[in-house]
Each structure stands twice: as structure tokens, then as C-alpha cells.
């Protein structure tokens, strides 16, 4: 089975750890326990009749991406960049961040994810999306689980393709 390294990154408190807890264990907690350093987890995703093993590196949130140790990104095939739909501070630097990540991982797959959609209305989501200069790939809720497995499923498909 092929293994791929995927980085979960974004500002602190946006729900990176929650997303992957929802994805891997189908559970959610309201408590906020900030990630220290990195936590690596694995999940096997089925794409058609093939299987791919995702090694998800959940890294501690930083306000801007240039604060994240670059060595964490080495050898990664994909990046999931998460922001919080309810906190403008978490998408204020999104364009700079994404350009920075593209330079860091040329040819890598980058997914831009707006999380905590359970807390905002569809109109608000549209407004946020329209205000951003980068395309949002998917909006999710780690709480209700909405779109969470879709996110990783899409990622798996892109990584195999």
C-alpha cells in the first residue's frame, strides 16, 4: 500500500485536531487542548479499488505559516490548510500563507478548508468565500462531521491521481 504524508496546518484553534479526530475516531469534544509540536496519525482511505495510507501530521497552529518549522513539510505530498469561518484573524493572511506553502511544496496538493460551518449561516459562508482571494475547496464542521470524510476522500483521490 502506498503511504503519503499530509500536513494539517493553519492558525491555532481553527479545528485541525478536531477535524482529524472526527475523521479517524468519529468523535468531537468542545474542549480545546492545543496541540504541542506535532501529532502524527494514520488513516487508510479507499479510492476505487485502491487503498492509500494517509499519514496526517497535525501540527501546532501558528498565526502565519512562516512560523512553522519548514522541516515538517519535507517529503509531504499534500497540505490541508484550515481556517475558522467564525474568526477573520484566521484567514487574514490566507493569500500570503498559501503562496508561501506553494513555494514550499511545488506541485504538492493544497486543500483550503473553512471549518466550524455549524456556527455560521450559508450567507455568511458565501460572504467569507467571496472576500477571499484564494478558492476555498470545502467547508466543514468537525462538530457535526459535515464534509469531513469528503475532505479526506477528495484528498486521497487527488493524491492517487
Amino acid at each position: 500500500m502506498t503511504s503519503k504524508k499530509v500536513i494539517l496546518t493553519g492558525s491555532f484553534g481553527v479545528g485541525k485536531t478536531s477535524l482529524f479526530n472526527q475523521f479517524i475516531y468519529a468523535r468531537f469534544s468542545d474542549r480545546y487542548l492545543t496541540t504541542i509540536g506535532v501529532k502524527v496519525n494514520k488513516k487508510v482511505v479507499k479510492v476505487g479499488d485502491r487503498e492509500i495510507s494517509l499519514l496526517l501530521w497535525d501540527i501546532a497552529g501558528e498565526v502565519t505559516q512562516d512560523k512553522v518549522p519548514t522541516s515538517y513539510f519535507l517529503g509531504a505530498s499534500g497540505i490541508v490548510y484550515v481556517f475558522d469561518l467564525t474568526r477573520p484573524l484566521t484567514y487574514k493572511n490566507i493569500e500570503t500563507d498559501i503562496n508561501y506553502l506553494k513555494d514550499l511544496l511545488p506541485g504538492g496538493i493544497i486543500k483550503i478548508v473553512g471549518n466550524k460551518k455549524d456556527l455560521v449561516s450559508e450567507e455568511q459562508i458565501e460572504a467569507v468565500k467571496n472576500s477571499l482571494s484564494v478558492p476555498v475547496n470545502i467547508t466543514t464542521s468537525a462538530k457535526t462531521g459535515e464534509n469531513v470524510s469528503d475532505l479526506f476522500q477528495e484528498l486521497g483521490t487527488d493524491l492517487i491521481g
Binding site: 503511504s3 504524508k5 487542548l33 509540536g37 499519514l55 501530521w57
Partner: protein
């Protein structure tokens, strides 16, 4: 009547007058300046005042503010109990580990002296064994008590942390995850100390030791329980080099087949021999 032959210079007159009238003031001013300029003199004057103020605060702060402060601290601690524990836990763990390592060292030293002072059949046997194996005697005693056991061995791609092969004595943990975490810890430490040319070579976790041997595009991590003497770690290092020379140089592209091959070789070289003991 006297006649002043020079017209009076207003300015000069003024200065003279000032000199006379303000002499005292100026002297005081000079004194003050001296005090201000000289730190010793200044502190002599100011310290008592500060002390007085501090004294006042010391006496009154607890009375006035203790309750409030206590309450805040208590509330914070209660609210953040988990966080505090999370911070304390590794520190405590580290202290306990240090203590155990220290006790181990003491034990090793004690054994060293026992070996030197006793001359029994056992000791003679050990002596012979140590002559043949080239291991020092106290290491042998140690290995009888608590010999190093290879629990897990991994070949890990250097950058990505992806597993290139592994073998394990008990097969209980997810090796992909461990390989990733090890790589994360490694790059964290190497980043933090900004040592590009130096690699992390040893991680100790409780009674487990992780021995790391670095190569250009991959590294090998050996997880061991039991204690490992300097001789044994040298020997392990040599075994690892032999292994990489024989088994890893001809592998060019990493696919499932290669991973399987590396894993079975790791098992053959490092894990299987332990089972036969």
C-alpha cells in the same frame, strides 16, 4: 567724589551680583548634582525611601490583596487543571527518569566493584566470556540482569518520515505512526538547536532507548529495552552498518516490494536471532 572712569558694564555687574547673591544656592545645587551623578551617593539617599515603601507593601499587600490573588490563582488552576497537568507531566516524567537513570548508574558502579573484588567460579566464567567476546565484565553482569533487547527496528525515509521497512518483536504498535512521530521529534530537536550538520542520535523514553543511526536519505531507529553499555552501542552501530552495506545499497526505488524486502531482512538480522536465544 570719585569718578568712574570706565562706563559700567551692565553685564559684568549683573554677573558679580549674581555671584554674591546666589553663591549659597549654587553650592547646594552643586552638591545635589554630585549626589545625582554618583550612583553610590544616590542610592544611599534613595534606598531608605524605597525600602520604606517596600516594607509598607510587604506588610499590607497580603492583608489587602491575598484573598483576591488566592481566589484568582485557584480559579485559574481549577479551570486549567488539565493544561497544568499536561505541562507538569513531562517535567515530572523527566525527573523520575533522571532519578532512575541515576540509580542505574549507581547500580552499575556497584556491580563494577563487585566484579573487581570477587573471584568466584561465576566470575571466572564471566572473565573467560569477556575475554572471548571482548565485552567488559561489568557489562556482562549488567546484561545478565537486564540485557538490551531490540523491540523494534525501523528504516525511515529521512525527510518524509515514511517507513521504508520495519521489524518488531511484539507487533503491538502502529509502526507508520511511530516512524512519523520519531521524524517529527528528530526534526524538531534538530531545528530547535539549529545544527544542520548534527543529527539526533539517541532518545530515551522511560526504560526504552531509541538508538538512531543516520544516513543520507534515510535513518535507522532501533527501539531497545534494557540497558545498553557503550560497548554494546558500538557493536550495534557496526551491525547496522553491515546491514545497510549488504541490504540497502542496491535498493534504488522504494515500492511495496522494496519495503517488504527491507522488512524481512531487518527481521532476519535483528529480531529473529533474539527469539532463538
Amino acid at each position: 567724589m570719585t569718578r568712574i572712569n570706565k562706563p559700567l558694564d551692565d553685564d559684568l555687574l549683573m554677573r558679580k551680583l549674581k555671584n554674591v547673591l546666589l553663591k549659597e544656592d549654587r553650592e547646594q545645587l552643586m552638591q545635589l548634582k554630585e549626589v545625582l551623578d554618583d550612583p553610590n551617593q544616590l542610592s544611599e539617599k534613595v534606598n531608605p525611601l524605597i525600602e520604606q515603601r517596600l516594607d509598607f507593601l510587604k506588610k499590607n499587600f497580603p492583608k489587602e490583596y491575598r484573598l483576591v490573588v488566592n481566589q484568582i490563582v485557584e480559579e485559574r488552576l481549577r479551570g486549567f487543571q488539565d493544561e497544568v497537568l499536561n505541562i507538569m507531566y513531562p517535567v515530572l516524567g523527566k525527573m523520575i527518569r533522571k532519578y532512575i537513570t541515576h540509580q542505574f548508574q549507581l547500580m552499575k558502579d556497584r556491580i563494577d566493584t563487585t566484579v573487581r573484588s570477587t573471584f568466584s567460579i561465576e566470575a571466572l566464567k564471566r572473565k573467560l566470556k569477556s575475554v572471548f567476546l571482548g565485552v567488559n565484565e561489568s557489562d556482562l553482569v549488567m546484561s545478565q540482569i537486564d540485557g538490551p533487547v531490540i523491540e523494534e527496528i525501523y528504516v525511515i525515509q529521512r525527510n518524509s518520515g515514511l517507513l521504508l521497512g520495519s521489524a518488531s518483536l511484539n507487533n503491538t504498535i502502529d509502526q507508520d505512526v511511530i516512524a512519523g512521530m520519531l521524524t517529527a521529534i528528530k526534526s524538531f530537536v534538530e531545528d530547535a538547536f539549529q545544527r544542520e550538520s548534527e543529527d539526533l542520535e539517541r532518545i530515551q523514553y522511560g526504560s526504552y532507548k531509541i538508538f538512531i543511526q543516520n544516513y543520507h536519505s534515510y535513518y535507522i531507529a532501533v527501539v531497545m529495552s534494557g540497558s545498553l553499555s557503550a560497548k554494546e552501542s558500538d557493536a550495534l552501530s557496526t551491525r547496522l552498518s553491515n546491514f545497510t552495506d549488504k541490504e540497502l545499497t542496491q535498493i534504488s526505488n522504494i515500492d511495496n516490494e522494496a519495503i517488504q524486502h527491507i522488512s524481512s531482512k531487518l527481521n532476519e538480522y535483528f529480531v529473529q536471532p533474539q527469539r532463538n536465544n
